[in-house]
Structure formats: structure tokens, C-alpha cells
Assembly symmetry: D2
Homo-oligomer: 335 residues x 4
């Protein structure tokens, strides 16, 4: 059994890690931290998990002398940066769920040169990684479907439009006026268009595929539901390709045929966040709008699973040399 620590165990990503790890037969959660709830049992702090873990929440500083095979950082970005060095050591794998280490350009300390943990792009590297930067939920929903099309130059890399719609858990568990129940419920809105912090992450991943030159317009929206990111992507077809609906579907099916967590839906089916809830799947569909040569990609993920904690466990499995699906191949909760 591998020993695991979950830092930031009482945020949504932390709770989701703990929920998913109950399915895992090869790891043992040895420590959980939760600064505000330090000293309380996990049963008390997270009632849904009552009966699953006999653990008491600690402060991060209380566990820095311990060693774990895997350390999950489900912390705010700044806090990740400030504590990560305490956990770097030869025998440990660190998986950071924040955006602290995702951008290459930001790291000056080579110790903190993380592998970008998107298995569908980077599986080989992840397998030998010691520090993994777990992708953001929005980038996950956008990069995976775009990758195979960009790889074969079937779509233009300029002016890709990514219109994303996320459930509210994506914004975390801290209360705020904007995320107060009645401010969100029954409403629908865009927020932080264009200059969203996720854009550089998307560009970095896509530019690796294309060799540079990718340009995206990204607008996130808030859906009045708990979980799920639905992404609609509009890209211009390369004019010299004879694109058809069948060819696009075929391309996606072939590209992802060995991916355990990617499900391609054939027309007329389309993804629905309700069909992936609680699971690590990304459901993808494509359409071709012949009239103006636009390729439309659709994806649905659970932002807390494939968009965060599930993907983190997928990365852990890879880095530990385990079956990638171990503890993760649980079906969606419907409805």
C-alpha cells in the first residue's frame, strides 16, 4: 500500500480526492490537513464521508516531517508555492491541483519544473514524474478535444473560440457574495471573459502540439448547478481539407481509441454534463458546419473529477506504475 497525504482536504477538490480514494485498492490515506479545521476528526468536518476515514485534520506544519509516497496539494495557488518544498524528496510524488506550477515560463527553480499532468497528451512523461501540475478544469475540457484536430492540421490554429460553461463547484468552497446561493440560482452569466487566468495554460498545451501560433478567445460562464463543465469550441477548417462529419468522428475515435476515460459520441448524440457526473470521463462530440467551414467540438466533464481530483489520481496511478484506471473506473451518477 502506498501512503498518501491530502493537503487541503476540506475544500471541494480535497473532499473529492478522499471520496475517490475510497475506491482505490493500492493506497492508504495517512494524513489530511485543513488549517481551519485542524484538530477535528474528518468525520466531523466532512459529514458525507463519515465512516470512511479514521483521521484527524492537521495543520500542514504538523506533517512536514512525515514522508508519504504521494502528496496531493489541493491548496490555493499561493499556499502551494509556499509549502511545496517541504514535501519535495526523492521518494515522493507530488501532485499539485492548483495553477502554481502549470506554466513553464513561471518556474525559475528547476526543482519546481513540473510535468503537466494531462495523460491524453503527456502520458509518457507523467510515468516518470516526481512533480505533477494537475491541469485546470477549463483547460482539460478544451485541450483534449482540440489536440487531435490540431495535430493533423485539420483546423486553423488562429481564432479558436472556446465557450465554456461551468458548474459552481469550479469556483471553490469559500463563501462570497457572488457565489451565495440566491445570486447564482436561476441565473446564467459570463465572467472574466478574454483575460481569464486559464488562457495561458490552454495556449501552452496547444502550442506544444502545433509548434506555436495558437490563438484562442476564451469565455467562461457560470451554470446554476454543482458539477460539470460543458465546452463548445468553434474552429475554422483548413480550407484545403475535404472535411466531412464522418471523417471528423473517425479521426476522434482513432485518436482516443486507447484512452480509458475518453468517450466519443457519434452524431446525433451530444455530450451532457449529467452523463459524466461523478466520473472521470470526458465525453466528446464533433459537428461540421459546412456553410462557413466551422468545426464545432463539444465536451463534457465533471470539473471535480476529470477536471481536478480524478485526473490527479489518474496521474498518481501513472506515476506509481499502477493500472491507470485503478479506483477510477466508477460510472457516472445519473441523474
Amino acid at each position: 500500500m502506498y501512503s498518501v497525504a491530502v493537503l487541503g482536504a476540506t475544500g471541494y477538490s480535497g473532499i473529492e480526492l478522499l471520496r475517490l480514494l475510497t475506491f482505490h485498492s493500492k493506497v492508504d490515506v495517512k494524513a489530511v490537513t485543513a488549517d481551519k479545521n485542524a484538530g477535528y476528526t474528518l468525520d466531523k468536518v466532512v459529514p458525507p464521508l463519515k465512516g470512511y476515514y479514521r483521521l484527524t485534520c492537521k495543520k500542514i506544519e504538523d506533517i512536514i516531517t512525515e514522508k508519504f509516497d504521494v502528496v496531493f496539494l489541493a491548496l490555493p495557488s499561493e499556499q502551494s508555492k509556499s509549502v511545496i518544498k517541504e514535501f519535495l524528496n526523492p521518494g515522493s510524488i507530488i501532485i499539485d491541483l492548483s495553477d502554481a506550477f502549470r506554466l513553464k515560463t513561471k518556474q525559475q527553480d528547476s526543482l519546481l519544473d513540473a510535468i503537466y499532468g494531462l495523460p491524453e497528451l503527456n502520458r509518457a512523461q507523467i510515468k516518470s514524474a516526481k512533480l505533477i501540475a494537475n491541469p485546470g478544469c477549463y483547460p482539460t475540457g478544451a485541450i483534449i478535444p482540440l489536440a487531435p484536430l490540431l495535430k493533423v492540421n485539420i483546423i486553423k490554429k488562429e481564432r479558436i473560440i472556446i465557450d465554456s460553461k461551468s458548474g459552481v463547484t469550479g469556483a471553490g468552497r469559500n463563501p462570497s457574495q457572488e457565489l451565495h446561493f440566491s445570486e447564482v440560482h436561476e441565473g446564467f452569466k459570463a465572467y472574466k471573459p478574454i483575460f481569464h487566468r486559464h488562457v495561458p495554460e490552454i495556449l501552452q498545451a496547444l502550442n506544444v502540439i502545433t509548434g506555436g501560433g495558437v490563438n484562442v478567445t476564451f469565455v467562461p460562464h457560470l451554470v446554476p448547478s454543482n458539477r460539470g463543465i460543458f465546452t463548445t469550441i468553434y474552429a475554422s477548417a483548413e480550407s484545403n481539407k475535404n472535411i466531412t462529419q464522418a471523417m471528423l468522428e473517425d479521426l476522434l475515435i482513432r485518436a482516443f481509441k486507447d484512452e480509458p476515460f475518453v468517450r466519443i459520441l457519434k452524431s446525433p448524440e451530444l455530450p451532457d454534463t449529467n452523463a459524466v457526473k461523478g466520473s472521470n470521463f470526458i465525453d466528446i462530440a464533433v459537428r461540421f458546419d459546412e456553410q462557413d467551414s466551422t468545426v464545432i467540438l463539444f465536451s463534457a466533464i465533471d470539473n471535480l473529477v476529470k477536471g481536478a481530483s480524478g485526473q490527479a489520481i489518474q496521474n498518481m496511478n501513472l506515476a506509481l506504475g499502477l493500472d491507470e484506471k485503478e479506483g477510477l473506473f466508477t460510472p457516472p451518477l445519473f441523474p
Copy 2:
């Protein structure tokens, strides 16, 4: 007092017409039809309106001998077509809320040559109209913000992308598997992408402005809420324009300065369907993504008000020569 008939009074558009008309001081609802509920009082069939109307639901055939100053058809498209001639007469104004008469190309009978009832585009014509085709909810949310930008050629008319998100009342009141509560709740999905029946309506209206050549990709999505359409529009800036955020906002403000139901939000504000619920407003904002010269428009409407029954009353006011705001300038219900 003008006499009014509401045909199809127990669908969502019909109920909304009746709700809004309680605020109107110049009209009197004289007859309501509801085929399935004929013979029952409106109080019984629509409990929320109990106490407002002393009317009994009739069959359409039972009122064709009566004359009304205004007849609202809140019927399925096919039914509108089959009954409309019974109500055409010199003294009456007919406002059809279906898509039966919106497209010019479809009408071979000049009697049925309707005016497209979007006051922000067609106010002068509506004032003397006898037959008004009330716009669709999706087209309303897309056409109004696009119109002023297309008028001054600040955006390209090719490859305009319209990503719309609608509450469930937009799909009507008839039960179906797809609109069963638990199928929709907590989910999010696209439906009928590309070839949606609303595309020709959008193109027709925009081509009037540009003189032709408009091309749109339209994808509607279903939001798990009752009311509201949020529309995100992506258009390429004309390269020879020096576009700035301030210029775009200014252009919108000037274009709509006399419009009673258009509210332009300045950056950093963005529309929210929660801020227009129950009202006839369309809230609009714009952003400029300099990096790839994309103009992004945002609009929020209540699909049952500005997207249907409120706009129908706005059209009625215009056609009757009344104050356009009469009975309609009621504030949103928040939250």
C-alpha cells in the same frame, strides 16, 4: 379599452401574456382559448392567476365569429397557420408568437405577409402593421446586439458565432422525456446545433441590415433554470477599423439611447439572466479581444418576456399607437 383575445392561453407564452396584461391600463382580455382545457375557468387551469380574470377557456372555433382589436396567437406554428385567416379582418391586429410567418420567403399569400416585430429594427413598420410575426427568443437575443455593429461595418458579416444558452421554458410546456425534471436538472447540454430552425430567421434580419452575405454558426444550449436566454456572440473585427473597448461601448450606447428596453452595461459589468427575469429588458455588454481581433457581444433576456410575450405586447402598443412602455415597464424579479 381595446378588446384582446389570447389563443393558446395555457402554454407558457399564453400565461405570460395574461400575467403582463394585468399591468396594462388600455386593454381588456375578452377571450382566451385552450383546446385541452376548454370549458374550465382560467382560475382553475392556471392557479397562479387566480383572482385576475373571470374568464372561461374556450375552443378556438368558438370565438371565430367574435371580433377583437388585438388577437394574440400563442399557438404551435402549424395551428397558427391553420386558424389565422379566421381572425384576419380590417379592424384587428394579429400578433403571432410562433415562427409561422417570420420568414418572407415562405409566404405566397400576400394577406399573410407579416411585419417582423422587432421594434429595435422595425419600429416604423410595426406602427402600421396588421399582422405581426413576433420574433423568436434566440433571434431576439442575437439580432439586437449585432445590428448596430453590422450597420457600421465594424465587424465582418462572415462567420459570426452565436453561442446561446436558454432556460427550459423556451422549449414550451408539453411534457417530454427530454424535458422531464430529472433529465435536465443539474445537467447542461447543447441541442440541435447548426441547423436549428432559428438560423434562417437570424440571417433574414441581419441581411436586411448588411444587404446580404451574413453567415452565422448557431449553437443553442439548455440551462437547468426556468427563464432566461444568455447569448455570447463572437465576430471578427473589420481589420481596417481602429477598434477599442470604449468605442464599442459608445457605439452601443448611442445606438440604443432611445430604446426603452435596451440597457447597455459598461465594463466590467456583464449581463446576468437573473437581472432581467420577468422584465422586458435586454441587457447588453461588449468586449474586444485585441489579440485576435474578436468582438464579443453578451446579451441577457427573459425568453418569455422580451423573447416572447413582452415583445408581443410591445408590438401591440406600437400598432395601437399607445406608449410603447404601457404595462411593460415592470422591473425584474431579483433574485
Copy 3:
């Protein structure tokens, strides 16, 4: 035109007062306060109301030298107590929406001896009141249906069980972990059972009717929706009465026949919060469970209207000698 001030204008009750007052033809809102947003225009702070008021939010201390015909206090209880004396003067009517002045036993200062503003019980007193304690939302939903049955001794006054279910706006607009969107959405729970602060208010009102001896068990629950309180009340029938369903319905109909905002639903109809949303109605139904001689009462209100701001305006109308329905007889928003 009567001059009005709304203190605490940017909480849900304050916003709802401002929304409802747009329908009122006899009053003019002259001042609004919002401590945290002082200095900003109402348009900016409450976007849904954009275009309705040309007012700037002030601090309470900035308006204490002004005189108003009516002052609404939509403030936290403690703040109401600390500022109310500044607004007490012979020419003003004060309507306090908090629970600061509802209980007789709490007041030692006779100046602060408020009239309990439940028109269905206290109409005569309200008409000459200068200080009105607006009832709580839970008490409103419970007291109105119980009153006529207790008045004629048809139910026992001991062990009345009140099981209430409230939408989230009832808990106010301040963000907290418990009211964070994802903590509430898709959940359902009871909170603060038995010793809820609303119990003494319910008892005080019912004991006036019975001459004392009323005993209630009250459990509030949180519904994952914005507006609405649904109340289910269980009371034992007095054994010496020959109770029937018809008799109970008849009793309610007669008791409330002159009440403009009470709607009695006959079996098999039952209230639904969706049928009163945005309106000042209380919908009531009754059932008799013969098997164990239990009378069941059902009521539905919009907690922000009949449960708060609508009732406050109803009280204002009475105290000013206006038509009680002025500006308030607007129909529910459905759905």
C-alpha cells in the same frame, strides 16, 4: 405623493421593497441607505433595478436629519434597535422588517411599543399605527391559516406541529459557508429545530386569539430554491366537533372572504410556492385526516413579498389610509 426612505436597500428585503414600490402610484422613494455601498448609485449596486431610481446609496447617519412620511427599516435586528429612535417623530410611519420590535415582552420603552403588522389579524390597529413590526416570514405562513380555526375552537391549541420549508432568500444576502451555492443546491435539510427565534412570535400571535395556552413544535427546513415558504401544519381536531373536509374549507373561505391577498384552494387543489412567486398572496388549503382526527393546513407564500416587503407595503397602505392593494396586486411570475 408620500415620501419614503428605505434603510438597508441592498439586502433582499430592501431590493424587494424597491421593486414593489415601482408599482405604487402614491409614494416616492426619496432616500436609500446601504452602509457598505454608500456613495454608489443604486443603478450600479443593484443592476436589476437599473433605470428605475435616480438615487445614490447613503449611510444611515446621513439621512437622520431628513423627514419622511414612511421609513422602512430593512436592517439586521440589532441595527434596527440602534437607529430607530432617530426616525421616530409625529409625522412619520416606521415599518421595521426585523424581529426587533415584534415581541411585546421585550419592550420597556413605550415609544417602541409597535403594532404587529399582520393585516389579517390586526387591520384596525395597523390603520392608526406609527410604528409597525412587520411579521417574520415563517410566522406569516403559519399564523394566517391557523387563526380562523383557533378562533372557533375547532382544533386543539396544544401540540400544534408546524413543519416549514423555506427558500434560501429567507436567510438573507450575507454570504456564509452554509449558504454557499453548492452546499445548498440539490440538498434538503432541517435547521435550528424547536428553539427557533420565530417560535415566540408565533405563540404571541396565536395566544391573542385563544387567550393563551397555545403550544407549537416548529421545525424549519431549507429548500434549494430562491423564494417561497411552504408550511404544513398538523393540529388535533377538538373531539366534540363534527368535522368534515367541506366544513373546514367553508370555514376558511368565510374567514378570509374579504381578504385581498388570501386565496383558499379547494380540494383536490393544494398550494405550490410556484403559484405565488413574486406576489403578495398566501394560498391556503386544508385537509382532514379522519383516521386520527388531524387537521392539516397548507400554505404557500413568497417569503420576500407576503413574508416581508409586500406585507410591509400592505401595512404602509393601511397606515396611510390608502387602498390596501395599491401597488401590490401584481400577479405571480409563473413559472
Copy 4:
């Protein structure tokens, strides 16, 4: 591996059986039926389960010649009655999820004399059962918490009030006007009070404990969410008992200490349907209202798991002699 058939596989209970059985290591689903979807693959008919079963939906008549170790009937009551005999045979265990065989008084055919499948009451009998009537969701939420208190006569068996609140999946998957998304969303209502079909089932189970004389008033309500039943129960304390909060909690803890799926929450904690979603738990709390000697019980279950398919699998495990928790001890999905 035991062979399993799921009849009615595409209703909510059927889908939930299939979801839960993916966690089970000892059974193999060999056949699924779905009359309307016969001939289609399960992948196509239930997209969320895509990738889990290589099965094609059949008609019931197509599998009656096959033998299975376990047959789940997730069918409407009438259909269960009409097909059950086809599957009765010595080697099979039949678990019926409808209410067809729950009431003893209804069965005249001794072959159809089912065991009532509530493990917390009937574990011993279930272990040797061949035909199990799986309890209703409302009865499950009410009977389990009441049982230990009735057993020791700490509460009166007359006039027990059960106020239940259910998510919409409890009403099944068939579309209807009443369960159309927008009719339910944002609303809250009671339905079928008093004479609900679940009352006799509750009485039968409780009368076994008390030896007769139980009397309940039962009112179900509809919560605008997908899953979850929250039950609030009010019972009069037996006057000759010295009841305290601590004694009641202790009684519950002891009564359920060996129950794997019952979690007792101590004051001030209270159940929340969000804390059991997707799991087989029933969370229970109790309060004592001293003032009028009322004991209040609270329970939360997921109506599709402990209220239907999870309990059915728990029964299967018992009847097959497996570990009761096999495949069922999966944690709730939060949020």
C-alpha cells in the same frame, strides 16, 4: 459469479441498479429488459453507462426461458404482478422493487408471499428469502428511525406525524405535465396528502413492532432536486418516561450500532440529503421538544439507493449469503 437479470433497466431504479452493480465483485449482469428500447444496446439507451455493459435491451418475453440467480424487477406494479410467475423457480431469488408484493393482506397466492426487504427489521428472514418485496422509498425513511423508539415504548403509537420531502426521481422517469422541468423547478408543494399508497406499508411494518395500534398521518412533498428524501417525524413521548436528548441519541446509537448503513448524527448535527447522495446510507438524528413532549426524528436517504436499488442489492447480498456491504459501501457524492 452469480447471474443477474434487471427487468426495467432504463427507468431510474433500473439504471441505478446497473450503476451500483458495477461495484459488485460477485455478480454478473446477464440480461436487461426495456420494452420500449428493446433491440438497442444499453450504451445507446443509457449514455452515462457507456462502456460498462456489453448488453442489448430485450423484451421480458425474450428472457423468460433463461435462468438467473437473481432477478430484479424494476417495473411498474401491475407489470411486476403479471410477469413474476415466469421467474419464480427454486434456484432464483426475485427482488421486486414495486409495491406489488409488499402488503401481506393483498396476497392470496402463497407462492407470492414475499419477505419485506428492510434489513434493519427483517435481516434473518431476508437471508432465506426467495421472493423479496423491496420497501418503498418513503417507508424506508420513516420506518427505520421509528422502529427502535416504538420497540421500547418511548413514544406513543397513535398520531405519529410523518412529513416527507422527496426529490423528483422518486416519481419515476415517465414524462408528465406535473414533472415537466419548469413546473417543478423553483417550486415546492405537497401532493396526495393523507391517503398516499405508502401509508399501509408503513403501518404494516410498524404494527409488527408494536403488536398493532399504530396510527400515522403522512404528507409527502416534492423538492425541486433530483435525489433525496428528507423525513421529519413528530411523535408524542410516553408520559411516564423520563426522556432526555442524550437518552434518545444513546438509544438510537445502540439500536443501530451493528448496522452498516445507518449513521446516527449527534446534536447539533442534522441530516442533509446532500450528505447521502449516491450512497446507501440513512442518516438519522433526533431531538426532544420538552415543552410539549414531542420527539422529533430526522432522516435523510438517497431515494434511488437506500430507498430503492441500493437496498435491493443489500437484500440480494443477504439472500445470497454474501457480505451485506459488498459493492454497496461507496461514499456519497458531495456536493
